[in-house]
C-alpha cells in the first residue's frame, strides 16, 4: 500500500532570492531517487507538502511547470516556523516533498479559450506554473489570447522579475504588471494601481470563450470579484484558487474543509460558481 504521508527525499539544488526584502525565495529541488520524479507528475495549479524533518510540513503551491523537467520549484514566503527554517537552509541540504496534491486548473476546458490571469502578491507562484505551461511551444497553440494582470505592493516585491521581462518582450502574451506604489523606483514604466483597478481597465471583454483565473490575497479577491461581475464574466468562467490551513493534504485530517469540500483534495481550484454554493469559511 502506497503511503501518502511519506515524503519523497529531495535535495535543494538552487535558491533564488526573489524580492528586495528577501522574504520570498524560490527553491529548486531535485529528487534523490529519479523514479520519484515520475511519481510526482503534476499539472499546473497543484501543490505539494514541503517536509522538514523535525520541524513539520507545510502546503506550498508548485511554481515550476510540468514542462520543466528534472526539478520542481516552490516559491516560499517566510511566515513562521517551517518557512523560517526553510529560508535558513542551503543548497545541497536534503528534505522531503509529498504530492502532487489537490486538483489543477481545468486545462481540458481552458484549451481553445482566451485566458486572463489575475494574480496578486505571492499567490502568483502557481500562476507562474500555468504561464510557463501555456507558453511552452507544445502548448501555446492550444490557447487563444493570454492576458496576465499581476500586481505587487512595490516593484521590488514582484516575483520572477527576469521572466516578467522575457514575457513582456513576447508578442503572444499581454502582460499588465502593476504596483500599489512605485515611489521607490523612478524608472518604473508599468502600471500603478491595485489589481482590481487594472483589471477593470485591461481585462478583455467577457464572452463564452474567455476564462479568468484569479489567485491572490483575500482582499484582492474580494475587490476583483465585483469588477469581473461588472465586466460580465459568468461565474463558471471565473476560476479561483484557495488556501486554508492544511496538514494531511489528502482529505483525511478534517482541517481544511469548506462545507463538504476539502480545499486540499476537492480544491484548491474552484470556480466562483462552486464557491457561491459553499459557506464563506476561507
Amino acid at each position: 500500500m502506497k503511503n501518502p504521508l511519506l515524503p519523497y527525499p529531495v535535495r535543494i539544488d538552487d535558491i533564488k532570492v526573489e524580492t528586495e526584502d528577501k522574504s520570498l525565495k524560490t527553491f529548486k529541488f531535485v529528487f534523490l531517487n529519479p523514479e520519484d520524479e515520475e511519481k510526482f507528475s503534476y499539472r499546473a495549479g497543484q501543490f505539494g507538502e514541503l517536509s522538514i524533518a523535525g520541524k513539520g510540513e507545510i502546503p506550498i503551491g508548485i511554481a515550476s511547470s510540468p514542462t520543466e523537467k528534472g526539478f520542481v520549484k516552490f516559491t516560499v514566503f517566510k511566515a513562521g516556523l517551517v518557512t523560517s527554517h526553510l529560508h535558513a537552509m542551503n543548497v545541497g541540504d536534503v528534505m522531503g516533498i509529498r504530492g502532487p496534491l489537490g486538483n489543477w486548473y481545468p486545462w481540458d476546458i481552458l484549451e481553445g479559450k482566451n485566458i486572463v490571469i489575475i494574480g496578486g502578491g505571492f499567490a502568483f507562484t502557481t500562476l507562474r506554473s500555468s504561464i510557463v505551461y501555456m507558453l511552452h511551444p507544445d502548448n501555446r497553440s492550444k490557447f487563444k489570447d493570454i492576458n496576465v494582470i499581476y500586481g505587487a505592493r512595490t516593484p521590488g516585491m514582484l516575483l520572477y522579475s527576469d521572466e516578467l521581462k522575457a514575457w513582456e518582450a513576447r508578442d503572444d502574451i499581454n502582460m499588465h504588471i502593476t504596483v500599489d506604489s512605485a515611489n521607490n523606483d523612478p524608472n518604473w514604466k508599468y502600471n500603478v494601481g491595485f489589481v482590481p483597478t487594472i483589471t477593470e481597465k485591461k481585462a478583455p471583454p467577457a464572452d463564452k470563450d474567455t476564462y479568468a483565473i484569479v489567485c491572490g490575497p483575500p482582499i484582492m479577491i474580494k475587490f476583483t470579484q465585483p469588477v469581473l461581475d461588472k465586466l460580465g464574466y459568468a461565474h463558471d468562467h471565473i476560476i479561483m484558487s484557495l488556501e486554508n490551513r492544511m496538514k494531511c493534504g489528502i482529505g483525511m485530517c478534517g482541517r481544511c474543509n469548506i462545507g463538504k469540500e476539502f480545499v486540499c483534495k476537492d480544491g484548491p481550484v474552484f470556480t466562483l460558481d462552486q464557491l457561491n454554493k459553499m459557506p464563506r469559511e476561507y
Binding site: 504521508l5 527525499p9 507545510i58 522531503g96 482529505g251 459557506p279
Partner: protein, 359 residues
C-alpha cells in the same frame, strides 16, 4: 454462518484458547468506568458494563501515533533528514465486547481513511488486523446493565442494540449463557479458534436472538429525526439563526469530539529526541481555534459559533451530502453524557431536520 450457545462457565476457557491465536482486547473495569485493554493470561473480558467511557477507536486510531521517523545527525550523511516509515505490529487482534454502535461507527469512518484516491496505511492495516466480536445491548438477570442509557438513540441514528454492521460476530448475553453468532469468515474463524463447539440448534438460537433484539429495540426511548437533512440546502442551514443560541453554553472543550467514535480529525506533529525524531499523527478537534488558524494569522473559523456549527454541520449535513450514507453519528450518546454544559446532539439534529428558512 455458525451460531453457538455456550455456558458462561465455559467462556473463560474459550478466551484462553483464542489468546494463542490473537492478542485479545476487552472491556475491563478501571475505577468507575470500563475501558478496552489487552487481556492478560487468565483475564476474561468484563461484560458487565453499559459502554466504555471512551470509544475503542484508539485501537486503530491511537490518540497519538508515531508514523514516520528520521535521523537528524549530520554525520550520518545517507540518513540525515530522510523520513522513513515506522514498522508496526499488525498481527491479528480480537476485540471482544465492543458495542454494536461503536463497531458501526468505524464503518462510517472508513471512507475517510480508505478511498479511491488515498489510503492511510496505518488506519487500514490496524483496522483490518482486528476481529470485531460485538456484544449486543440486552438485559439479563445477572446484570441489569447492558441496556440503553437514557442518552442512547441508536435506533434512529442508523444503528441499533443488535446491529451487525462492522462486526465479525455478535455475542448475545442471555439468562443461561452466551449465544455467539458468526457474521463473517473472520468471525467464524474466531469461533473455531476458541473451540466453542455448536451444540445447539441454530434456527432456535436465531429465533431466540430475534426475540431479544425486538425487546431491546423497544426499550430505546430516545430518538432523532434525520429524514429531511438530505434535502435541506447546505447554505440555508449554515446561515440559520439558531446557531448563536445553541452554542451559547459551549466552552469549546473538545470533549464531544474526543469521546466520539465517528470523529476522526487529526494533526501531524514532529517530536525530536536529540538527533532523531518521530512524526506523529494525533487526535485534534474542530472545536479548537488553532485547528484552522492560517500561518498568516487569518482564521476562517475564529469564533465559537463557527466551530460549534462546524461539528454539527459536519456530522449531520456535510457527511450526509458527501457520502449519502446516513448521518455521521451512531447514537452512542457519549457526547451527550460527557458534555460539561449539557449540549445535546439530539436537540441540534432535530432543529436542523425541521429547519425552514424564513421566506
Amino acid at each position: 454462518m455458525k451460531v453457538v450457545k455456550i455456558d458462561k462457565e465455559n467462556w473463560a476457557e474459550g478466551i484462553e484458547k483464542i489468546k494463542e491465536s490473537y492478542k485479545v482486547f476487552g472491556p475491563s473495569k478501571s475505577k468507575e468506568f470500563h475501558l478496552f485493554k489487552e487481556l492478560e493470561k487468565g483475564e476474561a473480558p468484563d461484560l458487565n458494563f453499559l459502554n466504555t467511557r471512551l470509544s475503542p477507536k484508539s485501537m486503530f486510531f491511537p490518540q497519538s501515533e508515531g508514523i514516520l521517523c528520521y535521523c537528524l545527525d549530520p554525520n550520518k550523511k545517507d540518513e540525515c533528514n530522510i523520513v522513513k516509515e515506522i514498522q508496526k505490529d499488525y498481527s491479528p487482534k480480537a476485540i471482544i465486547g465492543i458495542r454494536p454502535c461503536d463497531a458501526k461507527a468505524f464503518t462510517l469512518v472508513r471512507p475517510n481513511f480508505d478511498n479511491e484516491e488515498y489510503q492511510d496505511p496505518y488506519w487500514i492495516k490496524a483496522y483490518d488486523s482486528i476481529t470485531f466480536i460485538g456484544l449486543a445491548c440486552s438485559n439479563t438477570d445477572d446484570s441489569k446493565k447492558g441496556m440503553p442509557c437514557s442518552s442512547c438513540f441508536c435506533t434512529s441514528a442508523g444503528c441499533g442494540p443488535f446491529n451487525e454492521e462492522g462486526l465479525d460476530a455478535l455475542i448475545v448475553n442471555t439468562d443461561d449463557g452466551y449465544i455467539i453468532k458468526a457474521l463473517t469468515n473472520k468471525g467464524e474463524e474466531f469461533l473455531n479458534k476458541a473451540e466453542l463447539s455448536a451444540n445447539s440448534n441454530a434456527d432456535e438460537l436465531t429465533a431466540n436472538i430475534n426475540t431479544l433484539k425486538k425487546q431491546a429495540e423497544e426499550k430505546i426511548n430516545s430518538f432523532v429525526e434525520t429524514d429531511k437533512l438530505k434535502d435541506k440546502i447546505l447554505l440555508d442551514l449554515h446561515s440559520a439563526n439558531f446557531w448563536d443560541d445553541e452554542c451559547f453554553a459551549c466552552i469549546n472543550c473538545g470533549t464531544c469530539t474526543y469521546v466520539c467514535p465517528t470523529c476522526w480529525c487529526f494533526d501531524i506533529q514532529d517530536e525530536n529526541y536529540g538527533d532523531s525524531g518521530v512524526r506523529f499523527k494525533q487526535w485534534d478537534s474542530c472545536m479548537y481555534p488553532l485547528f484552522t488558524l492560517h500561518g498568516s494569522g487569518h482564521n476562517p473559523r475564529s469564533t465559537k459559533v463557527q466551530r460549534f456549527r462546524q461539528r454539527f454541520m459536519h456530522k449531520l449535513k456535510y457527511y450526509v451530502d458527501k457520502y449519502d450514507n446516513g448521518i455521521q453519528c451512531v447514537g452512542c450518546g457519549r457526547c451527550i453524557r460527557l458534555c460539561p454544559v449539557n449540549i445535546d446532539i439530539r436537540k441540534i439534529c432535530n432543529i436542523m431536520n425541521s429547519y425552514e428558512p424564513a421566506a
